[in-house]
Symmetry: C2
Subunit: 339 residues, 2 copies
DNA sequence: CACCGGTGGTGAATCGATTCAAGCCCGGGT
DNA sequence: ACCCGGGCTTGAATCGATTCACCACCGGTG
């Protein structure tokens, strides 16, 4: 007994040709109702399921869209994925979600996998600031859209949030509360978002008449809660100690908050904190976290839609677009002096 | 110019047959070094990438493992995914992660997709308590492993955590702190985990000489932070008001905590809270959360390994196994009276 | 009656990689 | 001189669905 029924089995059993079975599935209106009913009955009986690989082979590409993010442990990216998945499924596509873990090597590996899979497109938040991975990937002629990143070259679409403005919003807010020295807890400098947020922070300082030395850098190699705890410990050791911290994302901010809390440092009285992303857990933190909100779901959705447009474009008339969304400051207890 | 180079193009360019090219890729040692070098050079030159769909078609199944969870917004499942992905990639497989959102209909749709994709196996946390979806799925002869669920029928492997014991741990802890009435915030009753945790809670009450009426049910249709906030509001309206809450997961607990906090109810003095899962954010909450820790990463890894064993099993000698892991209570401030 | 258009159905070619029986070449054994 | 075996390569068959040129049939028309 054949392990799994194929289209030929259905055709034989129903007394029609394979072409007709294919038509029943893909263009039902082109088949006489009674023939169609007979074929459908056999399909049901045999439990026939068409093989994606066979149709992919024929079509030349798969009906799967890849999403490569830095870290699914970050709820921000979960929201991006949600938005992308919704848009993709509306178009009948599946989404394959992968983590590069900020490692260019893993990113390269996954891009290779995507090329083998002949995915119909890739949504990617690059881990490799040099752009070499994507440069190499482009020879496969698979469309890709940058997520949360401005395009460095015009060869593709991108959806980003204005990170310079986000950094500026955060630091302006702290300055207007009277702080004159701000720590910046960030990842190592090769991520564009991190650099842009710093640039925004510096420009806010500049507008307030302060020089770059007013921004105290506390770099961290990862962007998660544990790294935030480390950063918090280092912050406590600084002399003089800044009175405010701006964190490159909420996970870091939660970690910093935890270690300050454990050391008996009061937030916001002793040190004010502002995070970035406004993940759901920011509001639920020990001290509700002031944060720069990013429209993550919208970003995922728009990225997927841009990708679909590019992928559907037969006649080469596609014009690459770069969408920039605006962030928004959400003020909570972690940065406002209780009155 | 052909849009993308195939094995035939490589063969022609290198002056060998397609079979040889295939050998260079899959059994390099069976090819003369100089031939191999020549072929590899052409592969590099043309940017050839083998087509996964073609090899899948031949092999009959793909090298992708599916993971279907209730909700990736829950960090618990992110950890499960991490564990599974690590094990899968070690075996050279990709993982496709999907959310059923606790909807049996979406679950069915995804299972259908997996069958079309001929995935090599499925890891699933069922959303459909009736088991009908998986029952229907089993006709495709694709192995699957239940995650976070005990097997109802012996036709498959499973990895679960002892939820009865988890519920018992949580409620015993509350009872030993002097509470005599405990609210149980849970999802609607069709999830097995939810039922088992309740059963454990009831058994703990029973051991303390209390009847089931001491457990006040606050059902909720979803299992996220927002649903927790709703549940918190309902909890506040209860007369008499329980002095302790056990939540079926940490997201609910965080939501409950938020709404109690907003209403000025002190935790743990007025109401004690115990959550479930011990996600990373539990420790970072407004009041650090007591929680029942589940070995999520281990569960994902073991599930993937069981699946690989079953999938690799040619000769039908595979024996289905059901692994049960033990949970652990992590006591924090949300349930301990400050002295 | 010959011709025409339209409808419903056929079956072979095709996609790209794998696999395997068969062939070739060369050195060594008899 | 002949045969054997092993190393290396070939080329055709195969997987399953799609696609398309082609055919059979039927009612209507000139």
């Amino acid at each position: 007994m054949a392990r799994v029924a194929g289209i030929k089995d259905v055709a034989r059993q129903a007394g029609v040709s394979v072409g007709t079975v294919s038509n029943v599935i893909n263009r039902p209106e082109a088949v006489l109702p009674e023939t169609r009913a007979r074929v459908l009955a056999v399909i049901e009986e045999l439990g026939y399921v068409r093989s994606e690989s066979a149709r992919q082979l024929r079509a030349g590409r798969s009906r799967i869209m890849a999403l490569l993010v830095l870290d699914m442990g970050n709820p921000f990216f979960v929201d991006v994925a949600r938005g992308a998945e919704r848009a993709a499924r509306a178009a009948g596509l599946g989404v394959m979600v992968c983590n590069s873990g900020q490692s260019p090597a893993e990113e390269a590996e996954y891009l290779g996998l995507f090329a083998e899979q002949r995915v119909c497109g890739v949504l990617v938040t690059p881990a490799d600031a040099t752009g070499r991975n994507l440069e190499a990937f482009s020879r496969h002629h698979i469309p890709f859209v940058l997520v949360d990143r401005v395009p460095s070259s015009p060869g593709h679409c991108a959806v980003s949030v204005d990170d310079v403005r986000g950094g500026s919003l955060a630091v302006s807010h702290l300055l207007s509360a009277g702080h004159r020295s701000v720590a910046y807890v960030s990842g190592l400098g090769d991520l564009h978002q991190i650099r842009d947020r710093r640039e925004g922070a510096l420009s806010a300082l500049d507008r307030a008449g302060l020089g770059p030395e007013a921004l105290v850098e506390i770099p961290s190699d990862r962007l998660d809660v544990a790294a935030g705890r480390d950063a918090g410990a280092r912050l406590l050791g600084l002399v003089p100690r800044p009175t405010a911290v701006f964190c490159a994302n909420d996970l870091l901010a939660l970690g910093v908050l935890q270690s300050l809390y454990a050391a008996g440092v009061r937030v916001p009285q002793d040190i004010a904190i502002v995070g970035y992303d406004d993940i759901e857990f920011a509001a639920a933190a020990a001290v509700p976290l002031t944060s720069v909100r990013q429209p993550a779901v919208v970003m995922g959705r728009m990225a997927a839609e841009l990708l679909l447009q590019e992928a559907d474009d037969e006649d080469g008339t596609h014009e690459h677009r770069s969408v920039v969304l605006q962030p928004e400051l959400v003020v909570r207890a972690s940065s406002t002096t209780p009155h």
